[in-house]
Amino acid sequence: MPPVLEATGIAKHFGAVVALSNGSLSVGKGEVHALLGANGSGKSTLCKIIAGTVARDTGSLRLDGSEVSLRTPREAEARGIALFYQELSLVPQLSVADNIFLGHERTGAGGFLDARQLRADTDRLIARFASVAGTGFTADAPVSGLAPDQRQIVEILKVLARKPRLIIFDEATAALDRRQVELFFAILRELKAEGVSTIFISHRMDEIFEIADRITVMRNGATVASFASSETDRDAVVRSMVGDVGIRDRVERAVPPSSGAPRLKLKGASSRRVRDVSLTLRPGEILGLGGLQGQGQSALLQGLFGALPFASGTLEIDGRPVSIRKPADAVRTGLAYVSGDRGRDAALHGRSIFENIGSATMVREKLALVWPRHLRPRFEAAAAALNTKYAGMEAPIGSLSGGNQQKIFIARWLATDAPVLLLDDPTKGIDLAAKADFFALVRNLADKGTSIIFYASEDAELLSLCDRILVFNSGAVSAELAGASLDSFHLTNAAYGEVA
C-alpha cells in the first residue's frame, strides 16, 4: 500500500531567500509523524505546501500514490488535508459551534441552519475533550470569552470537524497544559485507530517521543534524516538537527562586558505570553534570547519597552526602580526597541529618511521645535555608522532596500544615544552584507558600554554575538547558556526542553 502522503524533492524560494531546497516526507496511513528542525529549517514551509497555502517551485507531491497539485487550501481540504492554524482562524464574536463549523454549516430543509444538529455535533466534538474534567466551555459560548488554551482546543475541534484524512498540527499544544496535552494525545490515538494520519510539529521533545511513530528531521531547507521513534533517542535527534557544526562559531569580544553593577534588572515579569522571567543585564553586555520562535522572546522585549506591559514584576535601571507602562516611558528612560517586522512596527511609510530617523530623538529630547539643519548632521552620522546607502535625508524611506531600511530604523535609536538596546529579531529578511554591518555595529556599541538584549530566530546569529543566552520555552526561561555551553547543541537541546 502506498503511503498516504509522499513528498519528494520539494523546493521553494521567496525572492532571493531559499526557504526549502529539498524537502521530503512520507506519512503512512494512521501514522503520527513528527517533523523537527531548528528555526528556518523549512518545516513550516513544507507543511504550508502540503496544505495548499503556499505553491511549490519544484518537487513531487503524491497522495495515495498519485500526483496532486494542491494549489489552494480549498483544493487540499477537498482531498482531506487540514492544517491547524496557531492563530488567526477563529472569529471571537461567534460562538464555539459557529466557529467550528464556519463555512461548513449544518443546514436542513430550505437551506436553513439546523441549530439542533449543529449543537449535537459540537457537543459530540467537545465531549472528546471533556471526557476527563471538562473543557469549561459550551457549544454556544462566544469565543471572545475563552482563555488561550480553550481557544486552542476550539481550533483543534475545528480541524477535526472537517473529518480530514491527514492533519497537520503546527504547534497545536503550545498553549495547553499537561492534562490537556494528554487529552489531545488521546484524540490523536483515536484518530490513529480510525486510520487518520497526522503530521505533528512541537517544541517539546518529550511529547514527540510520547506520541510520534516516526520522526523526520529537517535542517537548512532539506530533509536530513528520518527515524522510527522507537529506534532512536533524544541525543541522536538533536545531533541530526544541529549537524556537524557542534562547535561554536563565536567572535571574541574586543572589550569584555563590565562586571560592575547591573544596568537593568528585571524580576518575576509575567504577561499573557511571558511567565515569571527574571534577568540582569550589565553595561556592555550582549544578552541573547534563544529558543524556537514565538516562545515569549518578543513578548519579553515588548514588555520591557511598554508595548505589551507586564502584568506583574519589577524593573530596575541603574539601581533605580522604574515603571514602564507605555513606549513613551521607555523612550524617556533610555530604552530603544528595534523590531524585525519593519513594515508594521517601524516604517513611517511615504515619509522621508530624516523623519524616519528623527521621530525617536524628538520624543527623547522633548524638542518642541524642530530645526532640520541642526539635527541633520547627527542623523547622517547615525546612518553612516551603519554604512547605510541612501540618496539623501529627504529621500523617501521606500526608496531604500530592506536592509538599508532596517539600518535607518536602527539609526533612529543610535541618534538618541539610548543606553539599552532591545533587538527583536532585527535581521529578519535583510541581506548578508547588511547583516555583517549590523553585527559589527552591535559589537562596537557593546564595546562602548551599550547594554543589548538580542533576540534572533537564527541560532547562528545568537551564538556569534552573545555573551550569554537565555533559552525560552513556552514563555519561560528553560536554560541559561554561558561560557562553554554556548554552542548549537546545547542551544537546540534547551530549545526543545520541557520546563519544570
Binding site: 519597552f305 508595548a307 507605555k326 513606549p327 513613551a328 516611558d329 521607555a330 523612550v331 524617556r332 526597541y337 523590531s339 508594521r344 512596527d345 517601524a346 516604517a347 513611517l348 511609510h349 511615504g350 515619509r351 523623519e355 528623527g358 521621530s359 525617536a360 524628538m362 520624543v363 527623547r364 522633548k366 524638542l367 518642541a368 521645535l369 524642530v370 530645526w371 533612529r412
Partner: protein
C-alpha cells in the same frame, strides 16, 4: 519620460495645472472671467474654503480615517456667536473671535475624545456632532436676530487693504505660513505625519498619539469657528445653515491638494491650491449654468476618482 510622469502626477502640479485650465475655460466661456477684480473675488471665496480646509487637513493627515464633517455646523455656530457678540460694533470683533474660536475648539475636542476614547469612527462622530450643533443653533437663534458683522470686519474681508488686496487674503497667507511652521518646524507637526503614516510605529517611538489626535479635532473646530467669523464678515449677517455648503468642498480641497485620505502625507500649500482650484471649478460650473445636481454629480465623481488615486485599503492576501 519617467521624470515627466512623476512631475505630472504630483498633486501640487496637477492642482496648479487645473487652476490654469479652469481660468482659461472661464475666460473662453465668459470673457472677463479672469479679470483682476474677478480673480480677487474668487481668491476671497477660496480663502474662506482654505481656512476650513486647514483644520480638515490636520485631521486627515493624522490618519485613522480622520475626517471632520462637523466643520459646516461649526462655521455656522462661529458665525452666529460672532454676529451676536459684535452686533455691528467694531469693538466686538475681538470678543467675537474669542467666543467663536473658544466654543468651537471645545466642541472639536469633544469630537476628538469621542474618536480617541470611545473609538467612534470619526465620520460617524462628527456627523453626530453636526446634529447636536445644528440643534444648538436653533436654540441660540430663537427670536434673537442672528447679529451683524462689524463694519471693519466686512471691510477686512471685502475691501482692498494693501496693494489692492483685501485683508483676508493676507490672513490666509499668514495661515499658510503658520501651517507650514506647525507641520515642518514643530515636533507636533512631525508627530502628526508619523501617526498618520503608521500609528503603531508612532506609538513605538513614544508619541502620545491619542492626545495629539484629540488636539487635532480641537484645532479643526477652532479653525472652523474662526472661519465662521470671516464668513459673517463676507456675508454681513449669519443664518443657521451658512456653513453647510463648506463641508464637502473642504474634504475635496484637501484631497485635491494631495493629502491622502489614508493619512500621513501632503501639505497645506497643496490644499491652498486645491481650494482655489475647487472654487474656480464651482465658478466655471456656475458660468456653464450647470444645475445643482450636475455639480453634485461632478463632486461625487471627483471624490471617487481621487479615492482611486489615493484612498485604497490594503489587500488581505499578501
Amino acid at each position: 519620460m519617467n521624470r515627466i510622469k512623476t512631475i505630472l502626477t504630483d498633486p501640487l502640479v496637477l492642482a496648479a495645472l487645473s487652476i490654469l485650465v479652469l481660468l482659461a475655460m472661464g475666460e473662453v466661456l465668459s470673457p472677463g472671467f479672469a479679470r483682476g477684480d474677478q480673480i480677487i473675488r474668487l481668491l476671497v471665496v477660496s480663502a474662506i474654503l482654505g481656512m476650513v480646509a486647514a483644520g480638515q487637513s490636520l485631521v486627515v493627515i493624522g490618519g485613522r480615517e480622520g475626517i471632520d464633517l462637523s466643520v459646516g455646523a461649526l462655521i455656522s455656530l462661529g458665525a452666529v456667536l460672532a454676529g451676536n457678540a459684535m452686533s455691528g460694533n467694531d469693538g466686538g470683533i475681538l470678543p467675537a473671535i474669542l467666543v467663536a474660536g473658544g466654543v468651537t475648539f471645545v466642541i472639536g475636542l469633544i469630537n476628538g475624545l469621542g474618536v480617541t476614547l470611545l473609538r467612534i469612527p470619526p465620520l460617524v462622530m462628527t456627523l453626530g456632532m453636526t446634529g447636536v450643533v445644528q440643534g444648538g443653533l436653533i436654540v441660540l437663534s430663537r427670536g434673537i436676530p442672528s447679529g451683524n458683522a462689524a463694519p471693519s470686519l466686512m471691510g477686512f474681508v471685502n475691501r482692498p487693504l494693501l496693494l489692492g488686496l483685501p485683508g483676508v487674503l493676507f490672513l490666509w497667507a499668514l495661515l499658510g505660513l503658520g501651517m507650514w511652521f506647525l507641520l515642518r518646524r514643530t515636533q507636533l507637526g512631525y508627530a502628526i505625519y508619523a501617526m498618520g503614516s503608521n500609528e503603531r510605529a508612532a506609538v513605538l517611538t513614544g508619541l502620545p498619539v491619542r492626545l495629539i489626535r484629540t488636539l487635532l479635532y480641537g484645532l479643526s473646530g477652532l479653525l472652523a469657528g474662526v472661519t465662521g467669523v470671516v464668513v459673517i464678515g463676507y456675508t454681513g449677517n449669519s443664518f443657521v445653515s451658512v456653513g453647510d455648503q463648506y463641508v464637502l468642498p473642504s474634504v475635496i480641497a484637501v484631497v485635491i491638494g494631495g493629502i491622502s485620505l489614508a493619512g500621513g502625507s501632503g501639505n497645506y500649500f497643496g490644499v491652498m491650491l486645491g481650494a482655489i482650484a475647487l472654487t474656480l471649478l464651482q465658478s466655471v460650473l456656475t458660468t456653464l449654468q450647470l444645475e445643482f445636481w450636475g455639480r453634485q454629480l461632478i463632486f461625487g465623481a471627483v471624490l471617487l476618482l481621487l479615492m482611486l488615486l489615493y484612498g485604497r485599503t490594503k489587500q488581505l492576501r499578501v
